[in-house]
Subunit: 347 residues, 3 copies
């Protein structure tokens, strides 16, 4: 059900300040904390003495001190002090998780530690280059439904009618290219010679019709890089590229399962236009937030409906990328299950 | 547990305006909508594409358009349009339910469509003749407990002490005639030469003692017609009839299961006195509402208690109508179960 | 899981006034009421007619009248009246529980009635002698976790850092004597030559260092008597006793299971200093309340954590009293289970 051998976003780096920060990741209680050396650690959020979550504890140096009876754990989860007791039983330890801080994100690995290779983390250099604001949504749906939402754009005309929807016809008659890969899928959708949505006009002052693209690149299990942009008709964005100038928006979406039916949705909105205007960043953020909250409402309603009675899914021609993403996710879940069963059989 | 081959009230006609209206009926998610032809349709409230409830959609003409990716369904549940896709798979359909609009009520049938005969619907012409107001209560109890409440009047002296209770002794020493029928039970209770409750005095100005009747007619699964009235002692309501004039109140009660432990309680209060005074209708309504909310509190507490531990029911002499109603409901549930098993065996 | 053959506190005597008072005790719905003779009765809170909890009823004389159809039960649970029906079926009865009012507490027995000996009730005469205030907390944890909290004092330095914690070092270097008994465990902890906590200074005006003791006596299943006090260094509290004067506080803790994962925590705080100043009683009470609410937060978090995944408990040297108390509780649970199975086998 989960893909365990993978890096997931656990938090924004800025979430982990001077207090323990707790969150359930792939069904496991995790507490993050930043030691005085500035490094972030992630431990099982349950003291091995009497079970109190460590989030009720206090950070001391690079350790965390349990809030019930003061057992102290280092960033590797080893108990290093029990008040008034010299000998520390070797069983006195909690699980620790590999953690990497990169591109303003805290990445965590909950699977087989031997396979945790930081080189596999999806990089997003635009957090260093383009102005942006970030947000976390707690969405009560299976993370796979959220990926399905990101892999399909026909919904813009319906869910986002009043925000970024634009001309409904344009969406379904768009040029649409899907490129499956081993561990994901990309697609680009072109809306040529179309009416700009109000948000684009507000952003860069388009006066006439535009050529508009939306490029999405999914890497399993949970990362989607979005590059949405538009140039005036005549600037040959489609025919020639490079697609520079005009309206240019990059969104980094990351979806991390919390439970079977809930997930965290981390996203940032970065803009490549009017890059020195903080008001523009704020306006963009407000627009994205409104849009993604529209998705949240729909996804939670969809999840509740599917919980009530699962659906033999019927797909349409517009579901090409969704279907490929679902295939990648299923294959990885299956591979892990087989690897586990091989281990069990001693193969 | 449910009687499926039966008409149930799904909503008041006035509930179904220009927006989809969703409700769980006998455990199934249903969306009602009124097309531009004025006809009410009832569909399974779950799009067959990706499961979003259709209540998030929009009515267009006589169709409903899904709020996620725009699949369009007609009032028979057939998909008639998929944005940007010419061919519509034949599996692309949702269940539709037979619906009849009658006496200001929307009746729905969730059982075997072949047996859905509108002639079986319990009619209530007083909605055309007597002034009235209507209400819907969402009660967290098994619908059968609500029927049990309506089939027993000894509770008036206890639950409704402060509203319509009247003289406790009168209730238990009343003349009480029960008339079982094939598909229900009727009873009439006479309180002769009794003190009028304040509500009756306020309504028609009784100055002395009255002869009072309460007549209830239950038709399985969920309809109860109530005729409550009173005449001055000496007008021979009991001995002769017809029972005209004085205090005359008709209530149409309809109970529809939502889940095993919750139901919708639709009721209207119609008065045959001072029929051209809207204030009288309002006062009557306020009194009934207070009374029926007293029942709601008790029924929900009873349900919670029985869920905790079911009861080997002990009945008293006053439970004659309750016991008969329970017998009718059980028999119909059993008959349906047998019919299903005969079909399965190919009998 | 529960110890049934035992007296538990069901309520404070002052809780049972002129209305029925309902509470779940060891998983069973119980209604307490005080008849006009002043005696408290405890009945199963579920009318045997149609299941309404009797708490919705009314007290009449020494009986309780059901709020639905008026069945009337005496303090032994026997139905003594059914409105309008002369003969009362002998099955018409609800369970009654042995109840004793003592030391301002209502004690209840939910086990085998033949074994209910009031002499076993833990007495607490200080309710007659020392000024005090009382409180009830509804804590969402297994009652055994609450006992574990009371049997361990190292937590003072962590949970109660800001209230009664005092000097952390003192707690773990304290003299600590544990005295196990057949049906409980006692311990006394001495903090010699220590800084007084602010609360003690405010109470009795200590000017220098003090010798401080905390004595706890647990009697299974749920009673803990606490005697906390302090004298000035030099008054030889530890070496000689008797420990009179100075700071002297007695708390009677009683824990009663509600469900597997919730309990009622009844406590009183009695002071032996400045006994004629009501303001002192109030200040003490406010301090205890703040302290015990800190425990409540931690215990509920601990319970939630253990429900998620139970812990193979690792104990430290400070857990001596906790471990003994757990052993007593387990043994009594086991004894009852064996007694039941002997009865079943006819042994
Ligand atoms: S629960 Fe953490 S130290 Fe006791
Ligand atoms: S879920 Fe209804 S159209 Fe996709
Ligand atoms: S439920 Fe108590 S008298 Fe009927």
């Amino acid at each position: 059900m989960f893909i365990r051998n993978a890096w997931y976003v656990g938090a924004w780096a800025s979430d982990i300040k001077d207090q323990p920060f707790a969150r359930t990741i792939l069904g496991e209680p995790v507490v993050f904390f930043r030691g005085e050396d500035g490094k972030v650690a992630a431990l099982e959020d349950r003291c091995c003495h009497r079970g109190l979550p460590l989030k009720f504890g206090a950070i001391e140096g690079n350790n965390i001190v349990c809030g019930y009876h003061g057992a102290t754990f280092n960033c590797a989860g080893k108990c290093v002090a029990i008040p008034g007791q010299a000998r520390i039983p070797s069983a006195m330890a909690v699980r620790s998780y590999p953690v990497v801080e990169q591109d303003e994100l805290i990445w965590i690995w909950t699977g087989d530690v031997a396979q945790a290779d930081p080189a596999q983390i999806v990089s997003f250099p635009f957090h260093q280059e383009w102005p942006h604001l970030t947000h976390t949504q707690h969405v009560k749906c299976d993370w796979k439904l959220m990926i399905g939402n990101l892999m399909d754009l026909t919904h813009l005309a319906y869910i986002h009618k009043s925000t970024i929807g634009g001309d409904p016809d344009a969406h379904t008659t768009a040029k649409f290219e899907v490129s499956p890969s081993e561990n994901g899928v990309s697609f680009i959708r072109w809306l040529l010679n179309t009416q700009p949505p109000q948000m684009y006009v507000d952003a860069v002052g388009f006066e006439g019709r535009i050529d508009r693209w939306m490029e999405f690149e999914f890497t399993a299990p949970g990362s989607v890089k979005q590059f949405t942009g538009a140039l005036n008709v005549g600037e040959e964005a489609y025919e020639k590229g490079p697609r520079q100038g005009g309206f240019a928006l990059r969104v980094f979406h990351n979806v991390t399962p919390e439970t079977k039916t809930s997930c965290f949705y981390f996203w940032s909105g970065c803009h490549g236009y009017r890059m020195d205007e903080p008001e523009v960043t704020k306006t963009l953020f407000a627009g994205l937030r409104k849009t993604f909250e529209e998705d949240e409402d729909i996804l939670e309603a969809q999840q509740a409906s599917l919980l009530r009675k699962p659906l033999p899914m019927i797909s349409t021609v517009h579901d090409a990328a969704v279907v490929h993403a679902e295939r990648v996710m299923s294959r990885r879940v299956k591979q892990e299950a087989e690897a586990v069963s091989n281990v069990v059989r001693g193969a």
